[in-house]
């Protein structure tokens, strides 16, 4: 029972991360995609990593996962 709650929470949280729109919302806050992709040997830093993580979650979600989410939530 707790496992089902965890799965549901994870799916809903991932969905919430995925629907953060890039232009309308994130760029306004300053969490837009990196324009300066320089610096190979430098540390990316927490914020860059987080922004990249959000972007990659969105990209993956646009594929198969949306179907999975709608299937699970509709149960």
């Amino acid at each position: 029972m707790a496992l089902y709650g965890l799965i549901l929470a994870a799916v809903l949280f991932t969905n919430a991360v995925a629907v953060l729109h890039e232009e309308r919302f994130l760029a306004k806050i300053g969490w837009g995609v990196d324009q300066s992709i320089g610096g190979f040997g430098e540390e990316p830093g927490v914020k860059t990593q987080l922004v990249n993580l959000i972007r990659s979650v969105r990209t993956v979600m646009r594929g198969v996962f949306i179907k999975i989410i709608y299937f699970i939530v509709s149960i």
Partner: protein, 308 residues
């Protein structure tokens, strides 16, 4: 409810007949070295499933098994079908996780388990915490006491669930649903902890060789402390519970900090030449200490309701 109440340490050595420990090959599937009798429980009559069974062997085996050639033909067909099913399952599973990597974690023997359990309960005298390597691959737990394994966490998890059931039974609060609830709660906490560790390690770009299974192993070691705590709580009452909680918390915190320090803090990333004493070592220290402090909290959370 016959449980390993008094023989907690005795349950460990019983589980596995040790594969030959002098075997230098690390990832050798020892179940293929010996004739595959282990997983032949269905075919007790010695029918060798591993070898391609020609009809001649089937015929000569038929004299031993049944006098009916139809039965032996049916058994051959069934065994080939089972082989196909096994191959398919293996293929599907190896898409998600590499089975070889998993085998590494279960390559333990009795000596390792005993030493590791003593190390978990009293880590203060251990000197060398480095994980030894053997030509670029980490040594199996059979040869290196510092290597993480998944055998102890799995067994400790199952023992903890049984012990929780027994503790509730002693207090007349037992019902079968409670076991499932306890198991899923503990499992969920392990998953949460592993996910949080993975996320923090990724966000702070700490380049370690800690894989997911390593983190699962280190998270699972707290179940040994939990079992010890619950046992002392049952035997010696509330005072014994708190004493054991303090003891196992300190030991586990020390163990986690020393083990993770080798992996996280001293990992040489390529960008350590630039800003050397920047925020990075500090964040790594935070991660290690936070992970260590989390252990007593979760031990208390998961065992306090068992010992009143």
């Amino acid at each position: 409810m016959a449980l390993p109440h008094q023989g907690y340490r005795a349950t460990k050595p019983r589980a596995r007949a040790a594969p030959p420990s002098g075997d230098p090959l690390l990832f050798d599937d020892t179940s293929s070295g010996a004739p595959p009798i282990n997983n032949q429980n269905y075919y007790e009559s010695g029918y060798n499933m591993g070898a391609a069974a020609p009809a001649g062997q089937g015929a000569s085996g038929a004299n031993n098994l049944f006098t009916d050639p139809m039965a032996s033909a049916a058994m051959m067909y069934g065994s080939s079908l089972a082989n196909q099913g096994k191959d398919m399952v293996n293929k599907e599973i190896s898409r998600f996780m590499s089975v070889n990597k998993l085998k590494y974690f279960f390559a333990v023997d009795t000596k390792y388990v005993v030493k590791k359990l003593m190390l978990l309960m009293f880590p203060y005298t251990h000197q060398d915490w480095e994980v030894r390597y053997h030509r670029d691959t980490p040594l199996t737990p059979r040869h290196d006491v510092n290597a993480p394994d998944l055998y102890i966490p799995t067994m400790a998890f199952i023992t903890y669930i049984l012990l929780a059931g027994m503790a509730l039974g002693i207090q007349k609060r037992f019902s079968p649903e409670v076991l499932g609830l306890c198991a899923s709660t503990a499992l969920v906490w392990v998953i949460i902890e592993v996910l949080v560790m993975l996320l923090s390690l990724y966000l702070l770009t700490v380049h370690t060789d800690l894989s997911t299974f390593d983190l699962v192993a280190y998270s699972g070691y707290k179940y040994v402390g939990m079992i010890f705590t619950v046992l002392c709580g049952l035997l010696f009452g509330s005072d014994g519970y708190y004493v054991a909680l303090a003891w196992s918390s300190c030991a586990l915190m020390f163990f986690i900090v020393r083990s993770l320090k080798m992996k996280i803090l001293s990992s040489l990333s390529a960008d350590s030449m630039g800003a050397g004493a920047s925020a990075k070592p500090r964040f790594r220290l935070y991660i290690t200490v936070a992970s260590a402090v989390f252990q007593p909290i979760i031990i208390y959370w998961l065992t306090a309701h068992l010992v009143r």
